[in-house]
């Protein structure tokens, strides 16, 4: 295996014009599983190599271990656990998981099903009388936002405020100093501060007050690992708020888009509602919401597919490409809800494996089941639909459909 420089290819992938169909470019990229870029970073695009990196302890998620600091890293406040390494990562993830899943809080996610169904139903009720429905604005965005707000204890009516900050933060994730205006970065940094300040304000009111929402439970927890500091709670809430809806919106939207492009599968889902479980897994492989993990840092020299990546290098993981790797998945470009052995990379893998996976799955399963059940003769208005700018969290910005 050789390491050729394929910088043009990466730029083409990141370029907005590729957003609606980056997959042929990923196939090209996979010809060089470990591709050194002009700026010294490495892009990894094959399944085996990505999975290897995600399980490799000689990698760091902490940008402070990059030899060339990320632009803006300094100004960004206390990292949340997605950007930390063990043992800090493990401690904070444990502290958060105590209130979210097994073994301490089993049944939280499955217990949400009735509420989720109600939210979904009332959103669909509101479609009545509309000529065109935007699956994003009318459904796939408001649904997970409502859910995560409720879970965290963030007032739903504040959404217009934090939406602006979240958009600016997402925009700045893949800031490229060469091509992007500095403003894009500054906006992201400022938005991070604003969002933290906002969450801090909410947190202040939760100390010493009983309640079921996560902010309150974090604030008043006394488990074996002690309690998170306020700074840590804010970082964690920040992470959950953003990760909790900016991804699910894409999965639901991609799901509807994919079903409309595969009418037989849509019909099957109507007839066999249980199909939704493997179908959502296949979506996470075929049209995943997270296409790229923008950085890992080599903590020491590591060898990947015969290439030595020096300590401190930035490594970009092309998850969506790995999930379409023909060396791992038979007929990878086919959407096949019956696929066996579907160990996709949609939620990452290893210690940073998506924290909210069970919830995102349930949300999407319920959303698609109900959409398919209740929409009558849905049709795409535009194919491809317009996409959001981000190549990292990729999905349509609008998905207009019509019913018969």
């Amino acid at each position: 295996m050789t390491t050729t420089e394929a910088p043009d290819l990466l730029h083409r992938i990141l370029d907005y014009s590729s957003r609606s169909d980056p997959y042929p470019l990923y196939a090209e990229l996979r010809e060089t599983p470990v591709a050194l870029q002009e700026d010294g970073s490495y892009v990894i695009s094959t399944y085996r190599e990505i999975a290897g990196i995600l399980h490799n302890p000689h990698l760091s998620s902490d940008v402070r271990n990059l030899s060339r600091p990320m632009p803006g890293a300094e100004e960004r406040a206390t990292p949340s656990f997605i950007n930390l390494d063990p043992p800090e990562h493990d401690r904070l993830r444990r502290l958060a998981m105590r209130h979210f899943g097994p073994p301490h809080t089993p049944g939280l996610v499955s217990g949400m099903a009735p509420d989720l169904t109600n939210i979904v139903s009332s959103l669909i009720d509101d479609f009545a009388g509309k000529e065109q429905i935007d699956i994003v604005d009318d459904f796939a965005y408001p649904f997970p936002v409502t859910v995560i707000c409720h879970l965290l204890g963030v007032p739903r009516e504040d959404e217009p405020r934090f939406r602006v900050w979240v958009n600016a933060i997402i925009d700045s994730i893949n800031y490229d100093p060469k091509t992007d205006p500095k403003e894009k970065l500054d906006n992201g940094v400022q938005a991070t501060k604003d969002l933290r300040q906002y969450l801090g304000g909410l947190l202040e009111q939760r100390h010493g007050h009983p309640g079921d929402d996560l902010l309150t439970r974090f604030a008043n927890d006394d488990g074996p690992d002690g309690r998170m500091t306020d700074e840590e709670i804010i970082s964690t809430a920040n992470l959950l708020l953003i990760a909790g809806h900016e991804t699910t919106v894409n999965l639901i939207t991609n799901g509807m888009l994919t079903l409309l492009r595969h009418p037989q599968v849509l019909q099957r889902l109507r007839d066999e509602p249980d199909l939704v479980v493997p179908l959502v897994e296949e979506l996470l492989r075929y049209e995943p919401p997270v296409h790229i993990i923008p950085w890992r840092a080599a903590y020491s020299d590591i060898t990947v597919a015969d290439t030595v990546i020096p300590k401190g290098s930035q490594i970009m993981l092309m998850l969506a490409s790995g999930s379409r790797d023909p060396d791992r998945f038979g007929d990878p470009d086919r959407f096949d809800p019956d696929r066996q052995d579907n160990q996709h990379l949609g939620f990452g893998s290893g210690i940073h494996l998506c924290f909210g996976g069970p919830m995102a799955r349930l949300e999407t399963q319920i959303a698609l089941t109900e959409l398919v059940r209740r929409l009558e003769g849905p049709r795409l208005v535009a194919d491809p639909p317009p996409y959001r700018p981000s190549p990292v969290l990729r999905g349509p910005i609008h998905l207009p459909i019509e019913q018969s």
Binding site: P57, S60, N65
Partner: protein, 463 residues
């Protein structure tokens, strides 16, 4: 079977018999049907009832969380088999391809699978083993009895043997706030499986959870009261422990007695087979129609210098079942070898212990990640300078990486630092009590002189 036609005919209406209707047997049956076998399938098992899962028997069943009859193995598909349950097989005739049952029935086959697993090693004095309150844990009846005895509020439970099962049961006792003494001949718990260094960690954990852990001692006698109920144990150092329940957790005995005269390569380590799960005969020649899977199999692993390895691991039973089923239905050229790296897990004292590879195949061990005092770490095992295994305490997500190191014979100790490098990362001798992996005494003798006459004969073992 020589040609593709006969193989097709066999797949269509051949006869397959599976002896041992538990995890390995059931999974093989399911895989056979998955792969298109439409002939007759007979499941022979000496236990009554649906095949069930054993790992919960020393965990969730003993906490009372899951009822003993609640661990039935999920059926992954219909297997359309004839079930002959409640009667053991007691012989195998390779000349006529018949399995002989204890009630006199003869069951013919074209191909068969041996998956008779392991039974618990009983307490060595029969009368003492028969006392009320003395348990082993292998079957669901065992677990049911022990869970009831625990629920009755015993003054103390004595556990004899601090391997994985004994340690798990000790953990449940503490969880249920029952006083518990653990007696172990080795210097620490888990030493036989994981070596002295990890054993010390396990000892600390047990003591920190209030276990009365006594290592380096041997229980010599179990004493009962007039009603025949266990009351007291005597140790070889002259001390005694009063308890109402004794759990004998001294490992297993492979269920191979029924194969004694079969002419197969059978010994205390199980039935020897090739990497494709085909049984060897006494001479070490591979048979064509007899397959082995699960705890009873003893299989060479190329990664471990082709040594024959017997594993009592859930995942191994599942993987071998898949291989055996495939190979039963395949021509020689299409056979698969069982090459996966062994994995094992255990849960005790709130700690998730997981291993990859064969820790007993090692001379050194080093903590590579995390913190031993915090009981969350990974340790890598090495044999002559290469990585052969790893074990994690509350750190299982990294083990895939170590599996890769094992598969690629990566150098030991693994070199470069990680963000979570432990304070003291020096390899130490692994220190197993006695040779564990290497043969424990001869199992066969070779007779004859001329190459055409030389044969191997089994040695009868005395226990």
């Amino acid at each position: 079977m020589s040609s593709a036609d006969t193989l097709e005919a066999f797949k269509r209406d051949g006869r397959i018999v599976i002896v041992g209707a538990s995890l390995a047997g059931l999974r093989t049956a399911e895989a056979l049907r998955d792969k298109g076998f439409t002939g007759s399938l007979t499941m022979i098992g000496d236990e009554l009832g649906e095949p069930y899962d054993r790992p919960p028997l020393s965990k969730q069943v003993l906490t009372g969380w899951v009822p003993a009859d609640g661990t039935v193995l999920p059926r992954r598909r219909d297997i359309d088999a004839e079930w002959l349950l409640g009667v053991p097989a007691d012989g195998l005739d390779l000349a006529t391809n018949h399995v002989h049952l204890a009630d006199g029935r003869e069951v013919p086959f074209d191909r068969m699978l041996i998956s008779t697993g392991v039974r618990a090693r009983p307490w060595f004095v029969e009368a003492e083993a028969a006392l009320d309150g003395v348990f082993v844990v292998r079957t669901r009846e065992d677990a049911e009895g022990l869970q009831q005895a625990m629920a009755a509020g015993p003054s103390r439970v004595l556990i004899i043997g601090a391997g994985f099962t004994g340690s798990e049961i000790a953990s449940i006792c503490r969880e249920r706030d029952i006083a518990v003494t653990v007696a172990e001949l080795a210097p620490a718990p888990l030493v036989g499986g994981l070596g002295a260094m990890i054993g010390e960690v396990a000892a600390d954990i047990q003591r920190a959870h209030g276990v009365d852990l006594r290592c380096g001692v041997k229980v010599t006698q179990l004493e009962g009261d007039a009603q025949g109920h266990f009351r007291r144990a005597h140790f070889d150092d002259g001390s005694t422990v009063d308890a109402d329940v004794a759990v004998v957790a001294l490992g297993g005995i492979r269920n191979t007695e029924w194969l004694r005269d079969s002419g197969l390569a059978v010994g205390i380590w199980g039935v020897a087979c090739d990497a494709g799960c085909r049984a060897f005969d006494l001479n070490g020649l591979v048979t064509d129609d007899i397959f082995v899977a699960g705890d009873v199999a003893r299989c060479p692993n190329p990664i471990y210098e082709y040594r024959f390895i017997s594993l009592e691991h859930w995942a191994n039973a599942v993987e071998q079942a898949e291989i055996a089923a495939h190979n039963m239905l395949s021509a020689q050229a299409d056979r698969w070898p069982h090459l996966s790296i062994p994995t094992f897990w255990s849960i005790q004292f709130g700690i998730n212990i997981k291993s990859v590879g064969v820790p007993t195949f090692a001379d050194e061990v080093v903590v590579t990640q995390g913190s031993v005092p915090d009981h969350r770490f990974v340790a890598a095992y090495g044999y002559q300078g290469r990585v052969t295994a790893a074990v994690s305490f509350n750190n299982a997500k990294w083990l895939d990486h170590y599996r890769q190191l094992i598969e690629t014979a990566a150098p030991f100790p693994p070199p470069c630092p990680t963000p979570d490098t432990p304070a003291d990362a020096k390899p130490v001798p692994v220190d197993f009590p006695g040779p564990t992996l290497l043969a424990q005494g001869a199992t066969v003798v070779v007779t004859g002189h001329d190459p055409g006459e030389r044969r191997v004969t089994a040695m009868r073992q005395h226990r």
